[in-house]
């Protein structure tokens, strides 16, 4: 009942705000009727987009205003905090009243993916395929793969948001200074990774004479990449004998679980491993007592400050790749985008063109740099080819995660850079990315969907994750786990998901 109340409250809020907004929109249409002259009225664009920032900016911000000036628009950006994004976007979709440009993280997997697919089928969004070629930056070679990989049945219903293929994803970042002190090298296999963590725990790497270190800051989700390492695959499906198999039921997943269990039993994770949330993991990681944690590569710099306050010599370094028992290396990678923008059909065609022009500016050289670094001369100065941020940049919150979360910087190394990163550190990060690029891990389920998958998979996935945690914590036996997996394999819903996924997979091969 309570949920419904909250939902209806949100819906009412969204409805009323969008009523107000659409009122502005129609005004704009009226005035932009006589479009010929150069004094065309700025186009109103309502955007809702995810942001990882702690504080948001509004239309009094100088960079925001610069974008309005350059693109002749009146922006209305609704920042949605990453922590509540999943819930809010659902309510927004349910309200039936979407802004002109709506950001969603995923159009394949649950939670919102299935819904978006349905809505695309129902014709709720513009098919942008015929327009895209008119925009030089959106159809540039740099964006080619991004645009190509986000096609649905050959058509672009979304404007994908660029994100480099390598450097992102949850993968270990370790204390390089501790490794050096203990005379260890970066781990390259699961066994080495295990021994490294064990040494972090037992060999007093911080040298204070007390066994008070935590080997690795994680909860069961944030060590989840082990299942991918053991299965030699990205995503939730594995290609074996020409068929897709869910990694929930694979034998290799049991091995991965046992690896985690052994590490847990040896005390390599924090005390409340099973119940830590993301911010609590961060607290452990940044306490200076942890040997590592799982993050995208840019965190190796952005999270170092609190650790260096405790230990000035602290150095964080991302692991390049880890090989599983089969000897195949694994590193996280993905298609070159993260998230999509959708334009609902209720937006008139000439406004769609204005929105695309706005996005095109953002993915051009000038706009892209503007979003990332701010106004030249005001927010940064270029010295010997290096960009040096000014004090004003801090005041105007020209950082990552605000304006540049609308258009990510097109740069294959952009996922590894963070504000204030020294040149040598950046060079090391780039080198890791270049090494990661040589590691090719298949992702057979890329873009595949099925009705049964949409309906049943997330509950099954949750159940399986719960079961694994119970085994890891010793609250369920291996026999119980084996029985659970056997039951799951025989479950009619699971069989239907597997059947449908294989059918779509075969169909996608034929194309």
């Amino acid at each position: 009942m309570k949920v419904k109340k909250i939902a209806s409250l949100f819906t009412a809020l969204v409805l009323s705000s969008s009523l107000a907004l659409s009122a502005c929109g129609s005004e704009d249409n009226a005035s932009s009727g006589g479009d010929g002259g150069k004094a065309a009225a700025p186009a109103d664009i309502n955007i809702s987009v995810i942001s990882y920032a702690d504080e948001f900016i509004d239309d009094t911000n100088s960079l925001w205003q610069e974008f309005e000036k350059k693109t002749n628009t009146k922006l209305n950006i609704n920042w949605i905090s990453a922590t509540t994004f999943a819930d809010k976007i659902n309510v927004l979709l349910a309200s039936g009243n979407l802004p002109d440009l709506t950001f969603v993280e995923d159009i394949t997997a649950a939670p919102v993916g299935p819904q978006i697919r349905n809505m695309i089928k129902q014709g709720v969004f513009w098919d942008l395929t015929p327009f895209l070629n008119d925009y030089p930056n959106l159809s540039s070679p740099a964006m080619k793969e991004t645009i190509e990989k986000t096609k649905i049945e050959g058509k672009n219903y979304t404007i994908p948001r660029y994100y480099p293929s390598y450097g992102g994803g949850v993968f270990p970042i370790l204390r390089k200074d501790w490794l050096d002190k203990l005379g260890l090298k970066m781990p390259e296999t699961v066994d080495e990774f295990y021994n490294t963590l064990k040494a972090f725990k037992e060999k007093d790497p911080d040298g204070n004479g007390i066994a008070d270190t935590v080997a690795y800051a994680a909860n069961p989700d944030f060590i989840g990449f082990m299942y991918n390492i053991f299965n030699d695959t990205q995503g939730a499906w594995k290609l074996r004998d020409g068929k897709l198999h869910s990694i929930l039921t694979e034998d290799a997943s049991k091995e991965a679980m046992l690896w985690i269990k052994k590490a847990y039993d040896d005390g390599l994770f924090p005390a409340d491993f099973a119940i830590l949330n993301f911010s609590q993991i961060n607290d452990v990681f940044q306490s200076g007592k942890a040997g590592g944690g799982g993050y995208a590569m840019n965190n190796a710099w952005s999270r170092i400050e609190p650790i260096q306050k405790i230990d000035p010599k602290a150095d964080l370094m991302p692991v390049t790749a880890i090989a599983g028992p089969s000897g195949n290396k694994y590193t996280p990678s993905g298609a070159p985008f993260y998230g999509h923008y959708l334009i609902p059909k209720k937006v008139p065609e000439d406004k769609v063109k204005k929105i695309l022009a706005f996005m095109d500016y953002g993915y051009g050289e000038e706009g892209n740099k503007l979003a990332r670094y701010g106004i030249p001369g005001v927010h940064y100065k270029e010295e010997n080819g290096n960009i040096v941020p000014t004090e004003q940049a801090k005041k105007d919150k020209v950082t990552t995660n605000l304006m540049d979360s609308i258009f990510h910087e097109i740069n294959e190394y952009s996922a590894v850079f963070a504000q204030g990163m020294p040149a040598d550190f950046y060079a090391r990060q780039k080198q890791i990315v270049d090494e990661r690029k040589n590691v090719k891990v298949p992702r057979p389920d890329e873009g595949l969907v099925s009705d049964a998958y949409n309906k049943y998979y997330s509950e099954i996935k949750k159940k399986t994750a719960d079961m694994r945690v119970k085994v890891i914590l010793g609250k369920a036996t291996l026999q119980e786990y084996d029985k659970y997996v056997a039951d799951l394999k025989a479950d009619p819903n699971m069989q239907l998901i597997t059947k449908e996924m294989n059918e779509t997979y075969q169909a996608s091969l034929k194309k």
């Binding site: 009942m1 309570k2 129902q122 409340d272 997330s458 949750k462 719960d466 914590l473």
Partner: protein
């Protein structure tokens, strides 16, 4: 109170005579300003409570927000079938009922006992102080209470486990051990809401005629006798009405509390997953609006059935009931 209710009933009877319509019109005209005053309240119930009831039809559709109620496909009882044949249904029902019943057995009497105790206090300053202190947790949000619980009982930071450690006992995983979960949430509810719950009972107790106590003292009744023979019977009506209303929400366990206690905590899902959290996952997080509406409808039907039965039983035993 009794006399007032019978007066209202007499008025209702009068309305049912042939001149009822005339009488109603006369009343409306005479008290028009009073009715005007009630209008916003009536509108509130109409707009926010009655009109949304129409939305329940989506439980029988494959609702899509873009097709709307009129254009969405009708699927009959498909969502109900899916829900009842779901293996989780029994689990959800068990957890919901267990948490609710524990709440009724342990939480419900708590404010009554506390208000009886408070009523016996003769030092007004102390009484007010205690009242204020036990009200405060009501104003804290569940997020804060979940955080406090973590600080009290977790294995890494928990005060209780620190004490256990200091006296040489083993740490106890209060948050990760499924056996403790139901007890933990019941204690949380009591801590948060029991003080607030005393308000209504204290008000009822304040309405008891002091002459009754004086007379009983003359007859030599002790404090315990006074409570048993005067105070409790005097507030019996209030207790029964609140109890009936409580039964109506037996399928509601309080979403926020359970969600916060089980979120990110795979070890207790089996005992913690209730209808409210399931509806949240299926409805809000996965966008299955029709499916979750069907579950909500099911919950409401159970609730209203229980209220009706309890009300009938109460009336049979000569009590007033809620309607």
């Amino acid at each position: 109170m009794n006399s007032h209710v019978s007066e209202v009933r007499a008025n209702l009877k009068a309305l049912q005579t042939p001149t009822a319509a005339k009488r109603l019109w006369f009343d409306l005209k005479r008290d028009k300003y009073l009715y005007l005053l009630a209008l916003p309240g009536l509108l509130y119930f109409l707009i926010f409570k009655y009109i949304p009831v129409g939305g329940l039809v989506v439980a029988f559709q494959n609702y899509s927000p873009y097709l709307g109620i009129l254009k969405s496909d009708w699927v009959g009882l498909e969502h109900f079938q899916r829900f009842f044949s779901n293996k989780d249904f029994i689990l959800l029902l068990r957890n919901t009922l267990a948490i609710s019943l524990l709440n009724i057995v342990f939480f419900f009497p708590f404010p009554i006992v506390v208000s009886l105790l408070l009523n016996e206090l003769r030092n007004m300053v102390f009484k007010r102080l205690v009242q204020t202190v036990i009200y405060i947790p009501h104003f804290l949000s569940w997020v804060i209470i979940a955080g406090l619980t973590f600080l009290m009982v977790s294995e890494s930071e928990g005060l209780i486990n620190k004490i256990f450690e200091a006296i040489g006992m083993d740490k106890v995983g209060f948050l990760t051990e499924p056996d403790y979960f139901w007890g933990l949430v019941t204690i949380q509810s009591i801590w948060k809401e029991a003080g607030w719950g005393t308000i209504i009972f204290l008000a009822a107790i304040a309405g008891v005629n002091p002459q009754l106590y004086e007379a009983s003292v003359m007859d030599g009744a002790s404090r315990m006798r006074q409570v048993w023979h005067i105070t409790l019977p005097a507030i019996r009506n209030v207790i029964i009405i609140l109890f009936i209303l409580r039964l109506g929400s037996i399928m509601d366990t309080g979403f926020e509390q359970i969600y916060l206690m089980m979120n990110n905590n795979a070890t207790v899902t089996e005992v913690a997953d209730v209808f409210d959290t399931y509806v949240f996952r299926a409805g809000i997080q996965q966008g299955q609006f029709s499916y979750s509406t069907a579950i909500g409808l099911f919950k409401s039907i159970i609730g209203i059935t229980l209220v009706t039965i309890a009300n009938k039983v109460a009336k049979r035993f000569g009590e007033e009931g809620v309607y």
